[in-house]
Symmetry: C2
Subunit: 347 residues, 2 copies
């Protein structure tokens, strides 16, 4: 371990894996489940998505301690149609339920070309892009979504009734760079509004509303209000659709039925996810796919940059480059997260 | 027929169907194919989506006349895996290829729970919501997308390299109101910029860029430039993902490989579409689904409106209300469109 930027620490992937493994073992998870959680959170941190990586040990750990998350879930997998699976996560740790659901969907998709797995009884499952990466590495294109605690008002409404639900897509490039998109439906994350407030800056009126649902340029007012979705009614519609697929169709909670883990850490959230997996190997050879994927990326990146300092980017490019770099140079982890991991690991 | 608002004409659904049928018969389509085109375009006009309804007879007709679209396609349907279908549209009229692809996907989804059908060799297939409606009426949830002629620059780029590709979602409410979302990835349609220009108004700098990719508030400059995607890099990423699924995976054209029907009306476009259909009847009873769908809509619509004149809306509500109203009162069609339909019908 060495000290990195911003007072963070650089830690090798194997050290982080070992520390994470011991921490979640000590929190009562089975060895198989520990492996799943560590796999997802390590990829999240390798991608540089530190808000969705091992920093989550804080809430996962606290909720496991107070019985809000079940450390030893009896996850059931029910094949309701040949290519359709319903998973009940029994309130397990999110990435455990997520990985079990992903695996079931990939297995069925390799038989039928496509499959969908719906999960209920779950919790925060990390970012989506690690699942998309695992799927893409095995030749699967994916559409994955989860619902979330309510932070967004209905379009035209005045109180939080839907979550900033993330939606992710992955398309594999065999042997090359996959395209991975992982996005929530708000224009910006709440953290960006908080940073503007700390710096004493105004915010664009497209970022958030006051507590009554009216757009505001004052960050403090926006922090007391709601996040605004991208493209107004379009992002609102997308967030709803993600919740319909992830929450309503999965038989999980949805909208205001989702418990807030912050307000009620000891209650099950009953979050839902959906995983649609498509086996691209049935569509053509890996050479056919790889050639098209490289051509696709080249067409985009050959567009002359509007600002010569900012080259054109494609979805997943930054995360995959960060993963490669941090596998070599070490993963940047906040000191607080490391301390908490060690504290659990040494319990 | 009676004269409606804005110099438009009100025509009954059956009259419009008959007129459309005779027009497309005269353009050389088979009876089965005529039915498909009319079904989609009638629903589009019933929904009030007049830019994507029978007004398209102008481009469809012109291109059929010059051989840019094949009036008698030999559409092939290839089941490459149990729940995965590849369709080659043989450059047929878009809604013909779209309907054949939708039908193949629904049939496989009813067997396997989910299915995907990819179409290549297609053309503009109308709006997405009519397909989502047909699917929802039979109990299928859907995710449908198409690629399109390039009008958007890559994020950070300076020339048009990707289409304003539409993406649609549908979730059925058996016996009630479905949720239908049909959106393109630009903040606004080009027509909205054109209207601002006609009125001599400035536009927000989030709508479009100049010809070099820099945001502009001048509508004339924006009309010479590119549309901006919703949420900046997020909408850009979504538009790319739609093209990867609809164009790249389907073995159709994609990005700049798509021919512009305006610049080269006599050339095949090789557009691609994807249809993912999920049979909700495998997930639970129609009563279970209907109760959850009604509860979901009520939670949203019970949010007190931020502006008391503007009630909260949910996706598809406006279109489904318009359909109901126009089925009774007649469908509003522009005089130009009616004249063109009659001209073809009486040829």
């Amino acid at each position: 371990m060495t000290t990195g930027k911003n007072g963070n620490t650089l830690i090798s992937e194997s050290e982080l894996r070992d520390l994470g493994k011991r921490a979640f073992q000590s929190l009562g998870l089975s060895d198989k489940d520990v492996k799943d959680v560590v796999d997802i959170l390590v990829i999240a941190d390798l991608f540089g998505l530190s808000t969705h990586g091992f920093s989550r040990i804080e809430s996962y750990g606290a909720r496991l301690k107070v019985g809000g998350i079940n450390p030893r879930p009896n996850i059931t997998i029910d094949q309701v149609a040949p290519a359709m699976i319903k998973v009940d996560g029994d309130n397990g740790v999110g990435p455990v339920v997520g990985m079990r659901t992903l695996e079931a969907a990939m297995e069925a998709a390799s038989q039928f070309g496509i499959a969908v797995a719906f999960a209920r009884g779950s919790n925060h499952f990390g970012p989506i892009s690690p699942y998309s990466l695992i799927a893409a590495d095995q030749g699967f294109a994916s559409i994955i979504g989860s619902n979330a605690t309510t932070t967004i008002a209905p379009w035209g409404g005045s109180d939080a009734r839907l979550g900033n639900s993330p939606l992710g897509f992955g398309v594999p490039n065999p042997g090359g760079k996959h395209f991975l998109l992982d996005m929530a439906m708000s224009v910006v994350a709440r953290a960006k509004i908080r940073n503007a407030f700390k710096r004493g800056e105004q915010i664009p009126d497209t970022w958030g509303t006051d507590a009554k649902g009216n757009p505001t340029t004052d960050p403090k007012t926006a922090l007391d209000g709601f996040l605004l979705p991208i493209g107004g009614h379009k992002g609102y519609g997308l967030a709803l659709m993600v919740d319909l697929f992830a929450g309503l169709l999965s038989n999980a909670g949805y909208l205001t039925h989702i418990q807030s883990w912050q307000d009620e850490p000891d209650e099950p959230q009953n979050l839902g996810h959906f995983f649609i997996l498509i086996d691209t190997k049935r569509l053509g050879s890996s050479q056919w796919l790889s050639e098209r994927m490289i051509d696709f990326a080249n067409i985009l990146m050959d567009s002359p940059p509007a600002d010569s300092d900012k080259p054109v980017i494609v979805p997943g490019m930054i995360e995959l480059a960060k993963l490669e770099q941090q596998r070599k140079a070490g993963i940047e982890i906040s000191t607080e997260t490391l301390q908490l991991l060690k504290q659990y690991a040494d319990t």
